[in-house]
């Protein structure tokens, strides 16, 4: 609701601008787009299913997430440095995502074993 309220404020600001001032194209496009995005995001949150009350299991550390972060950074740098790094970074990203999937599976198994789901 707060996001929708805030999006409405943006809509009022740009609405007033369009009505009372001679604006260029970019101004209503940018601010109006932000207003619509916030209204849509607020609506999506409002209608989303509430999180089931229960115990969420999380690992104390997540090395694959850190690995994925570094890999994504290398992937971005590869746009400057060259295709050779793209392949390496993409492989690293794959390994990172695989590690996260393994972690998630372990979490689910633990939740089921402990009756937390």
């Amino acid at each position: 609701m707060v996001a929708m309220l805030w999006g409405s404020f943006l809509a009022i600001l740009i609405g007033a601008g369009v009505i009372a001032f001679e604006l260029d194209v970019e101004t209503p496009a940018l601010l109006g787009g932000a207003a619509l995005f916030m209204l849509a995001a607020g609506f999506a949150v409002a209608i989303a299913r509430p999180e089931p009350v229960g115990v969420e299991v999380a690992p104390e550390t997540s090395p694959p997430t850190a690995w994925l972060g570094v890999s994504l950074a290398l992937l971005a740098v590869s746009a400057v440095v060259g295709l050779w790094l793209t392949w390496i970074a993409a492989g690293m990203c794959g390994a990172g995502i695989g590690g996260i999937i393994r972690e998630r599976r372990a979490e689910r198994r633990l939740q089921e074993r402990e009756g937390l789901r």
Binding site: V2, L5, F9, G69, L72
Partner: protein, 554 residues
């Protein structure tokens, strides 16, 4: 509304664990510490620039190097320090203030940390390239930033770094918002959230609404530099400015609002009374942040390509919610029993210095006045009073306020006060002369000036001020190192705080709380004291099994 978090432990606590931990406190601390390290590096670049400008003639660096310095200084301060730190203190503190056991989507927040760290390394790697680091200023105005005007990998690295660092802040902001939506403790309705949590709400709204625009803009700029021709057409330069400032102005408030929340809480706690006008202040934060999304093109008045009257109106409108917040700060202090501890000194510094920035903002929010001082040191002085006076003083208020919570030890109060006084004096001595330099016609981003320009004395004064700030930061670092080893044990609530983080141990354990007090307002611990209940005694009782208090851990 809330779900508890169980942690799979592996029992060790190495540096690798600290940097791969999914606990929101580890992520928040790692991000804030990394951002602060970038602040120190960016500040060092500023000292180099001030040293160069202390006298006419190129004494220390070349013109090209000077261009790299001011570009990377500004980029560091916004992309790598201020915006990440503003959201990262939310990553640490918002779950604690909401009585939550953790942050929502901790892996996403951790990913954000690593993208930020990598982005910083990549930006500075530009110095090692053949053409050096980027030289087009932190705004990367087009066509100055195209591949003809600024060739080389350093500029490309800068773009990649900006994308990564901005994405990092975006990811962490999403996590903070999700925590606020999904993880609040029982009884913690939206209007019972503390002021700092509310300030993070509006900050994260601005982040999710404006940061994606910069990410896309930087990708477009990168493609343009590869010859795709995105901004080359008629009006492309102005379109680039629209896109950049749609991020570039909101980010000034992104790095400001969380510190408004911090300062509000520090003022209430150190005035030993409830924050005055809590609900109007929350509403003013929402309105303030919305209006601040609509003012970006006041940076573009001199292009003659925007509706100056609209952006001048919205810019001036900002004074109304800002005035409400200032009134609330002052009204909270009036009638309070004020303790002038180091956090309060920094909070007062924030209020006074940001006021200078805000009032001079009225000048440059007015097109006729802006035409006269545009791209001069007047603007440099103005935004340093908002960003240095606002963000840096607010951040130090937060550090002095929450250091005992983070570490379990108090910072030395005398060194803290010395730090506050030196930094306040340094901020005045550095930036006040810049107003006069600007009015006297000194352009920003110039590496040199002539002895006959009559600008030498004021530049010397500004440089002395910059080194005063440097000395104050050294005092702070000494204080931190000393206090981590020898600091007085803090206990859970050294300031008699009003919000839930002061109900947790210092430092808070994994899971944060063994139990929670009832939440009836934005200041639950103050409620207890007003009811004659000592939160410390309640906490001790609650920690004994089978005698749990009302509420319960989330």
């Amino acid at each position: 509304m809330s779900g508890a978090t169980a942690v799979l432990r592996n029992g060790s606590a190495s540096i690798v664990d600290a940097l791969t931990g999914t606990d929101h406190k580890r992520i928040g601390l790692a991000t804030t510490a990394t951002a602060f390290a970038f602040f120190l590096i960016g500040g060092s670049l500023a000292l180099l620039m001030r040293s160069e400008l202390a006298s006419p003639g190129m004494d220390i660096v070349s013109e090209g190097t000077y261009n790299e310095l001011f570009t990377i200084h500004g980029s560091t301060m916004f992309f790598l320090f201020a915006a990440p730190a503003a959201v990262a203190i939310g990553v640490y503190m918002v779950p604690l203030q909401l009585g939550a056991s953790g942050i929502a989507w901790p892996r996403l927040a951790l990913l954000g940390y690593w993208l930020l760290a990598a982005g910083g390394v990549i930006m500075y790697a530009g110095f090692l390239t053949a053409h050096g680091a980027a030289t087009f200023g932190w705004t990367a105005y087009y066509p100055l930033s195209d591949s003809n005007e600024t060739p080389g990998m350093g500029a490309d690295f800068w773009i990649v770094a900006v994308v990564l660092a901005t994405t990092a802040v975006l990811l962490q902001a999403v996590c903070v918002l999700a925590t606020i939506v999904r993880r609040r403790a029982p009884g913690m309705s939206l209007l019972r959230m503390p002021l700092f949590a509310w300030s993070e709400v509006v900050t994260c709204f601005m982040v999710v609404a404006s940061f994606p625009v910069l990410i896309v803009t930087m990708i477009l700029l990168f493609l343009d530099r590869q010859g795709v021709g995105i901004f080359t057409g008629s009006g492309g330069a102005v379109t680039y400015q629209h896109l950049f400032w749609f991020y570039g102005h909101p980010v000034v408030y992104v790095v400001f609002f969380p510190l408004v929340g911090v300062v509000g809480e520090v003022i209430a706690t150190f005035s030993r009374r409830r924050f005055f006008g809590f609900k109007p202040t929350v509403l003013s934060l929402l309105v303030f942040s919305a209006i601040s999304m609509s003012v970006w093109a006041h940076h573009m008045f001199t292009t003659q390509a925007v509706a100056n009257n609209y952006f001048s109106t919205t810019s001036t409108l900002l004074l109304v919610p800002a005035g409400i917040e200032y009134f609330a700060f002052l009204a909270t202090m009036v009638g309070g029993r004020i303790r002038l501890g180091a956090p309060m000194l920094f909070a007062l510094g924030f209020v006074l210095l940001f006021l200078i920035g805000g009032l001079t903002g009225i000048f440059i929010g007015s097109p006729p006045l802006d035409y006269n001082v545009h791209d001069t040191y007047f603007v440099v002085a103005h935004f340093h009073y908002t960003v240095f006076g606002g963000t840096v003083f607010g951040l130090f208020a937060a550090i002095y306020y929450w250091f005992p919570k983070l570490t379990g030890r108090m910072l030395d109060e005398r060194l803290g006060r010395l730090h506050a006084v030196l930094m306040f004096v340094g901020a005045l001595v550095t930036f006040i002369p810049m107003f006069f330099l600007g009015v006297d016609g000194m352009s920003r981003r110039v590496a040199d000036y002539l002895p006959t320009d009559g600008l030498t004395t004021l530049n010397v004064v500004a440089t002395v001020g910059a080194f005063t700030i440097f000395v104050s930061v050294v005092v702070f670092l000494v204080n931190v190192v000393r206090s981590l080893r020898l600091g007085e044990p803090a206990g859970p609530d050294p300031w008699k705080g009003q919000t839930l983080e002061w109900f947790a141990d210092s430092p808070p354990p994994a899971g944060n709380f063994a139990s929670l007090p009832p939440v009836r307002s934005h200041a639950p611990l103050l409620d207890l004291r007003e009811d004659g209940v000592d939160p410390a005694a309640l906490r001790r009782r609650a920690s004994i099994p089978d005698r749990a208090t009302v509420g319960g851990a989330s």
